[in-house]
């Protein structure tokens, strides 16, 4: 891969990049090249290694092996500021990390200059404003320069971040999932800017897994999966091929039947998550594992939190076992038999400093204690059973959580909520940062125990949904847009189209191939 689609020699070239965290090899022999005036889309599922790659390019992390050149010169930034100095700017996915919320838009646009000390000690607001206006003129924007960044909408903040990156007139611009929290119209504005930059000869590395972005912008697509480059696609672009290369062939569940529910547990009626989203309804049945999939930021977590008593719908109602259900907090939800393992186990589930047994028993201490005193031996006994059931790899139930691998930590989190019978179990991104083996163990255990309860799993990766679920709901723009049953008749391309938010736009000819991929 030495030459981009434009035919010009590449401005950023990466060869043989390697990076590991402990045992975990996150990037393996990655080659990548971007040319001036080209939009190279890098596709990859969660945990594929995209963010590590971006961090290395941006100078946040250093590679273990490999070579990078920028504009023909060796490039190995030790700090982010070195990258900027060499002509490479990155707009990170977390927009709020890239802006200082309490400063004005103008001050934010000039942040790099202010921080690098290139401005001299005294910097008049008027001069700042003038320079800020020049910068935003590059993009033809008219942002409210005097407003604090915290007061302007998210989409505008992102433009501020991009503007700021462009203030340094980079040769290479890296955009990390820039549309993940933008509406269609806001995204359209961004696309216009990207095209303009492309016309000026900026090389753009665009990281996303959103199909609409890819269709609109990509000159070339490279897919990353499990730390390896798994495919390169040049025009005419084979989008479905790229999706398959990104996700891999969906894993077939061996020997287990797709189940259908026995009786309704939770039903949502005309629920609206936000004032501007469309209402939706669905029912979850006992004995069935339902996955909700959809891109990041489409409202999956919000839906889960609402069911778990952490927030309220704008309108509509919920029924649990036929009775109206409005939990006032998590405690009430748990009392009613609705359990949830939240997204991002480190913040939402794991108590550092507690051993495995204590982490497992946390929600059910009342059942593990007599007259307020915790029955430690009963607690440990129960923990040993969970460890066996989920094949948690550890020395024993008194191990500290910090000694466990990510997958085993996640098993503890899931095991916590499997320890007691529930009516509905919600798992928000249970496979995040979990290796294949642990993922299989968790999915198996979920399906083994699914008999008497309804199970709801929220995942942004479609193959995860396929692995665990009997039924897949698709969420887009804070509403449910698709309802699929896995097994015979499952229409993957339709699901992908629903996920990508452009129903009906999927090319017809690719359908057969995808169907075969789905098995």
């Amino acid at each position: 891969m030495t030459e981009g689609e434009t035919g010009a020699p590449p401005v950023l070239e990466i060869t043989g990049l390697e990076r590991a965290f402990g045992q975990n090899r996150v990037l393996r022999n990655v080659d990548l090249a971007v040319s001036p005036g080209e939009v190279l889309v890098l596709m990859g599922a969660n945990g594929a290694g995209k963010s590590t790659l971006v961090k290395i390019i941006a100078g946040v992390l250093s590679p273990d092996a490999g070579r990078m050149t920028l504009a023909g010169r060796p490039y190995l930034p030790a700090r982010p500021i070195d990258a900027v100095g060499a002509g490479l700017s990155v707009v990170h996915q977390q927009i709020n990390d890239a802006v200082a919320p309490d400063l004005s838009v103008a001050q934010n646009l000039l942040l790099d200059r202010l921080c690098s000390g290139r401005t001299g000690a005294i910097y008049s607001p008027r001069r700042a404003r003038r320079e800020a206006e020049t910068i935003q003129a590059i993009l033809g924007l008219s942002l409210p320069l005097d407003r604090a960044v915290s007061e302007i909408p998210l989409a505008d903040r992102q433009l501020v971040a991009i503007c700021r990156a462009l203030a340094e007139e980079p040769k290479v611009l890296v955009l990390d999932e820039p549309t993940s929290s933008l509406s269609q119209r806001e995204a359209e504005r961004l696309f216009g800017i990207v095209e303009m930059l492309k016309a000026r000869g900026v090389a753009i590395l665009y990281i996303t897994h959103r199909m609409s972005d890819i269709r609109r912008l990509a000159d070339r697509i490279v897919t990353l999966r499990d730390g390896r480059i798994t495919g390169e696609f040049r025009p005419p672009l084979d989008f479905e091929g790229a999706v398959t290369a990104m996700l891999g062939a969906p894993i077939q569940r061996d020997g287990e039947a797709i189940r259908t529910g026995t009786r309704p547990v939770l039903s949502l009626e005309n629920v609206r998550l936000t004032s501007w989203s469309r209402p939706f309804s669905f029912t979850l049945d006992a004995g069935e594992v339902t996955a909700i999939t959809g891109l990041v930021g489409t409202g999956k977590s919000r839906l889960a939190e609402m069911i778990f008593g952490l927030g309220q719908a704008v309108s509509g109602q919920m029924r649990l076992m036929g009775k109206p259900y409005t939990p006032r907090d998590c405690g009430a939800a748990i009392e009613a038999g609705v359990f949830m393992a939240g997204k991002d186990r480190a913040t939402s589930s794991i108590v550092p400093g507690f051993d495995i047994a204590r982490n497992l028993s946390l929600p059910f201490l009342r059942h593990r204690s007599r007259a307020g005193f915790v029955d430690r031996s009963g607690e440990r006994q129960k923990a040993r059973r969970t460890i066996a059931d989920l094949s948690i790899v550890c020395q024993g139930e008194t191990d500290d959580m910090a000694t466990l691998s990510g997958g085993n930590q996640q098993k503890v989190v899931v095991g916590r909520w499997l320890a007691e019978a529930s009516k509905l179990l919600i798992l928000d991104e249970p496979f995040q940062g979990v290796d294949i083996k642990a993922r299989g163990d968790i999915a198996r255990r979920l399906r083994e125990t699914a008999g008497d309860r309804a199970t709801l799993v929220l995942v942004s990766e479609i193959d995860e949904a396929l692995e665990v679920a009997d039924r897949i709901l698709v969420m887009s723009d804070h509403t449910i847009v698709g309802d699929h049953r896995t097994g015979p008749g499952f229409d993957l391309s339709r699901l992908l189209a629903e996920v990508a938010g452009d129903l009906g736009a999927a090319p017809v000819h690719s359908e057969n191939r995808l169907e075969s991929a789905a098995g």
Binding site: L362, V374, A402
Partner: protein, 329 residues
């Protein structure tokens, strides 16, 4: 092998230090080693330790309580006021003070939980508030029997002998009541934190508040309760102080606060717990008490004492944060 040495030093290093120190003082001043001496170490730290045990509760939920010193000082004033000016009996006075402590804790908790004011700032505010408020009823005077009130009448009440006994009497002629109270409270809070589900949830909240909330714990109520425990303990400390001194002294209680916090923080290092714990707090308080006791017996000047206290605290914190962390890795 080296690992075992490090483990042992983390777990028992502090006790070795404690014993070594005791032996050192014994060599320097034989009067140091006697039952009375030991009892005295306990007595000298009783009030500080009670405050420290209370603040341990707030440390466990990941908070902090800067107001304990002024709660104790105010409680002392309240006790004196109730007895000397209103002529109340012992029981009512004690109940009043504890109720006052609970109320101060409730106020702290509400400001922190519902007002979303950071704990240090909220309790700092309460601290100042109480420092000022405690002076209002007597217009800044200390309270003693026969005192002249702001309206130039003379107070008629006096400290009930049974109240004074709280600070002065000895059980079996050996154990001062204040020490008994300290030990009882230490055992109570130790059992509560280590063995009950409520204590367990408090530790969980301190370690990961969001996870505890998602596990169904009523986090707000637990936090408020922790500050109420802290307030109640501080007010009990104030009662004992009033009973020992026998008057309502105008004082800030800031030294009580600092000593109590130091004891609780030193407690982190005991047994390599690396977290707030009641047993460690008690040992921490005793350690400081023994040190000061020994230094005083050896005629060390007063300013050495603060320096030594500070030194111990720094060493204990290093124990906690650098040695234990490294071992955990």
């Amino acid at each position: 092998m080296t690992l075992a040495v490090r483990d042992l030093s983390i777990r028992y290093g502090f006790f070795v230090l404690l014993v070594a120190l005791a032996l050192f003082f014994y060599a320097a001043q034989p009067a140091f080693m006697s039952v009375r001496s030991l009892v005295f170490v306990f007595q000298s730290v009783a009030i500080t330790a009670i405050l420290a045990l209370g603040v341990t509760g707030t440390l466990v939920v990941g908070g902090f309580d800067l107001s304990i010193g002024s709660v104790a000082a105010s409680s002392m004033m309240a006790a004196s006021y109730a007895m000397v000016i209103w002529g109340w009996g012992t029981t009512e006075t004690v109940l009043l003070c504890i109720a006052f402590g609970l109320l101060a804790g409730l106020l702290n908790g509400l400001i922190i939980v519902y007002g979303r004011v950071p704990d240090l700032l909220a309790t700092l505010g309460t601290m100042f508030l109480l420092l000022g408020l405690q002076l209002v009823p007597t217009a800044g005077r200390s309270i003693a029997r026969g005192m002249t009130l702001p309206d130039s009448t003379t107070a008629t009440g006096s400290f009930d002998p049974s109240f004074l006994a709280l600070g002065r009497a000895r059980l079996f002629d050996v154990l001062p009541v204040s020490v008994v109270v300290m030990l009882a409270l230490a055992v109570a809070i130790f059992v509560f934190l280590e063995f009950t589900r409520w204590g367990r949830v408090m530790y969980a909240i301190g370690s990961n508040e969001q996870a505890s909330r998602l596990a169904g714990a009523p986090v707000a109520r637990y936090k408020i309760a922790a500050y109420m425990i802290s307030g109640a303990f501080a007010s009990i400390g104030g009662i004992l102080l009033a009973a020992r001194v026998g008057r309502g002294d105008v004082s800030s209680g800031n030294n009580l606060l600092l000593d109590a916090v130091a004891a609780a923080l030193i407690g982190f290092a005991v047994l390599g717990a690396a977290k707030p714990n009641a047993f460690g707090t008690l040992i921490g308080a005793l350690f400081v008490g023994m040190l000061l006791q020994g230094l005083t017996m050896m005629n060390a000047p007063y300013y050495t004492q603060d320096a030594v206290k500070g030194g111990v605290l720094v060493v204990a914190l290093l124990f906690t944060f650098s040695l234990t962390r490294r071992a955990g890795r």
